[in-house]
């Protein structure tokens, strides 16, 4: 069954066309990777799926778990099980990681008709998840991403994902900024989440991540469209040859 079905998606920003007909279907249980040159529209795709304001959808549709994704509010998408690990996580001074994640988890549980976790239950959960990602207590008490190093911010995204247990996780360059050990830890975290009901969309520039999170399908996004799809060997091929064959220098 398809978890997400993106059909002929076109999106513009400030009148500039960025996505120019993206077609992509991810079935439950699958991991897809998207690679592609800088500026191709990978992050734009992830923002459009998450519902960020400022993008105009000029054509196309997205069905997520049977629902029309594009008509949903940002928080409704999250409650429906969509999660975006940001390429550039946002700093929120004055709001602690714990408060933030508790509020998020309980909001999602509420829309699902589940009872909210109390402070103790939540603390237990977040501590266990943080431990899996080798994050200490001090980090979960700190203000969201404030003063975090690049790698710590990415780890924090992985922590949020582990706590919220999404159906579809979109990881936008979660590997960038991670050291070698952290990369393994975060990849293990992602792999723990893999399951027959879940799907993943992993955006990356580097084959290395895909050694740890082995994808079922690899896509090349260039110039606002998926221009090629293949198995995991496609990533190796791209690493060797680059994106020249996709004419990335071609004007839009």
């Amino acid at each position: 069954m398809s978890l997400i079905e993106i059909k002929n998606l076109h999106a513009t920003v400030d009148g500039k066309a960025i996505l120019k007909g993206v077609d992509l279907t991810i079935n439950a249980g699958e991991v897809h990777a998207i690679m592609g040159p800088n500026g191709a529209g990978k992050s734009t795709l992830s923002y459009v799926l998450a519902g960020r304001e400022g993008y105009e959808i000029t054509e196309g549709s997205v069905t997520f778990d049977g629902q029309d994704l594009l008509s949903m509010e940002i928080e409704e998408r999250a409650a429906a099980g969509l999660f975006l690990a940001f390429q550039y996580p946002v700093e929120i001074p004055g709001v602690s990681n714990t408060t933030f994640l508790k509020e998020a988890l309980n909001a999602i549980r509420k829309t699902r008709g589940e009872t909210p976790l109390d402070a103790m239950q939540f603390l237990k959960l977040i501590r266990a998840k943080a431990k899996d990602l080798s994050m200490n207590d001090e980090m979960i008490k700190r203000a969201v991403n404030v003063g975090f190093s690049g790698g710590e911010k990415k780890r924090n995204e992985a922590l949020q994902m582990a706590v919220l247990q999404p159906k579809l996780a979109i990881l936008d360059e979660t590997d960038s900024g991670l050291d070698i050990d952290a990369l393994k830890i975060v990849a293990e975290g992602v792999n723990r989440l893999r399951g027959p009901e879940r799907g993943m969309l992993v955006i990356t520039h580097y084959q290395r991540l895909l050694d740890y999170i082995v994808p079922d399908v690899v896509h090349v996004l260039a110039n606002g469209r998926i221009v090629k799809s293949g198995g995991k060997e496609l990533a190796l091929e791209l690493e060797a040859k680059g994106y020249a064959e996709f004419g990335v220098t071609e004007a839009a």
Binding site: A50, G51, R52, E53, E73, I74, E75, R77, A78, A79, F83, L84, F86, P89, V90, I92, P93, G94, V95, T99, F100, L101, E103, A104, L105, A107, I108, T111, V144, Q160, L164
Partner: protein, 418 residues
């Protein structure tokens, strides 16, 4: 004498004079000064952002007899019962107050009848001087540390549709080496139109400490005009905070003179306003002697067509070398028609000082909103989180944890209600 052109609300002034009882001596002088000076118009520098013309539209009448008013709840910022004086419609209510069990050396008295005239400039001080008949005085003797905070509660009540005027007087004297905490509440949830013209005179002795907090949650048709004058002696610590939530127009004017070395003055505040409310926080921190520090953090949230005014003046006199002054003023604008007028003013006459100030005004951060919502937090809940975090930076200045938590809860209730 003030030029006629620089006055406003003459009708109001005349009504006040007409309704005043027969006065003699310094009280009559006060009324006379008030009548002559009139109310400042926006041409007066100190009032250029706050317009008192609306007072002219009021029809004044007497306050209701406090004894006839039923009070269902008395606000508190504490978890345990504490000494308190309660005033209803500007009048002392002994039956609601609690003054037993004070340690030796602590005198908490309700002022009733003729209160002593107050010194100082300005029409509202003159008015209070002339008409004040109720108030509170706390005197703590040298070396006495009052562990329980004292609460001063002013509950508004009106009768009929005429606007009542009351003039509470607050006197706080903390002698050398003594310590106390005072929490003022000014509330008027469902009261109609009234004017509360508060004058507070505070002195903190050598090495003494005073925590002085104020919650202003007057009714939305109220005018709250407060004038606080604080004298600080050598090595005193003064920790003061005002939270402005209520009133149609509230002006909290606080002047502190740092008249000794080694003083620490913490003069902060926060506000959250909406509709057509005006919140004005005007402060003067006067560094008269060397080696003192002052710290001022004022932050607020403005929604609807509300307007905030912050005027923060720091004076460093020629004598006041090694002064360390810090001032921060930030406003969060939640709507297009929300407005802030901010006027930081540094007047520095000494050369070896460290003074910094910063002022910003902005909206909620869109990226932060998106991030929170992308994790499933609703728009409203995300706003509450961000506004709360914004106000916390000011509320964190409150040293007393219980009071801080209570003020935080008041701010949260405001956010929840908007």
């Amino acid at each position: 004498m003030r030029d006629e052109q620089n006055q406003t609300a003459r009708n109001f002034v005349e009504q006040v004079v007409a309704l005043a009882p027969a006065l003699a001596g310094p009280r009559a002088d006060g009324l006379d000064r008030f009548a002559k000076a009139g109310l400042p118009s926006t041409r007066a520098e100190a009032w250029k952002f706050t317009n008192l013309r609306g007072l002219d539209k009021l029809t004044l009448g007497p306050a209701p007899d406090a004894a006839t008013v039923t009070v269902d709840a008395i606000p508190t910022a504490l978890d345990t019962p504490a000494p308190r004086l309660v005033f209803v419609a500007g009048q002392y209510r002994a039956d609601l107050s609690r003054v037993g069990d004070l340690p030796d050396g602590v005198v908490l008295t309700a002022l009733t009848g003729e209160t002593a005239p107050v010194a100082g400039d300005g029409p509202f001080r003159a008015l209070n001087s002339a008409l004040s008949s109720h108030g509170a005085a706390l005197r703590v003797a040298a070396g006495v540390k009052l562990t329980s905070p004292v609460e001063l509660v002013f509950i508004a009540a009106t009768a009929g549709d005429k606007a009542a005027l009351w003039n509470p007087r607050i006197i706080i004297e903390i002698a050398d080496g003594a310590e106390a905490t005072v929490v003022e509440h000014h509330v008027g949830a469902n009261a109609g139109t009234y004017i509360s013209n508060v004058v507070a005179d505070v002195s903190v002795g050598i090495g003494a400490r005073l925590h002085h907090y104020k919650l202003q949650a007057e009714g939305l048709d109220a005018w709250h005009l407060a004038n606080v004058s604080t004298h600080l002696a050598q090595d005193a610590v003064y920790d003061t905070f005002v939270l402005n939530l209520g009133a149609r127009l509230a002006r909290h004017e606080a002047r502190q003179v740092l008249d000794g070395t080694g003083i620490e003055a913490r003069v902060s505040g926060a506000y959250a306003i909406t509709g057509n409310q005006v919140s004005d926080i005007t402060t003067l921190i006067d560094h008269a002697k060397p080696h003192c520090t002052s710290r001022e953090v004022v932050k607020g949230v403005i929604d609807g067509a509300a307007r905030a005014v912050f005027q923060g003046k720091i004076v460093v006199r020629p004598d006041a070398q090694k002064t360390d002054g810090y001032q921060l003023n930030r406003a969060l604008l939640l709507s297009e028609s929300a407005e802030i007028n901010s006027k930081p003013e540094l007047e520095i006459y000494a050369d070896d000082v460290k003074c910094s100030h910063g002022a910003t005004a902005g909206e909620l951060d869109e990226d932060q909103m998106f991030y929170l919502r992308a994790r499933g937090i609703s728009r409203d809940a995300a706003r509450v989180l961000l506004i709360g975090a914004f106000l916390d930076e000011a509320l964190d200045e409150i040293i007393d944890e219980t009071v801080r938590a209570h003020f935080r809860a008041q701010a949260e209730a405001w956010m929840g209600a908007r």
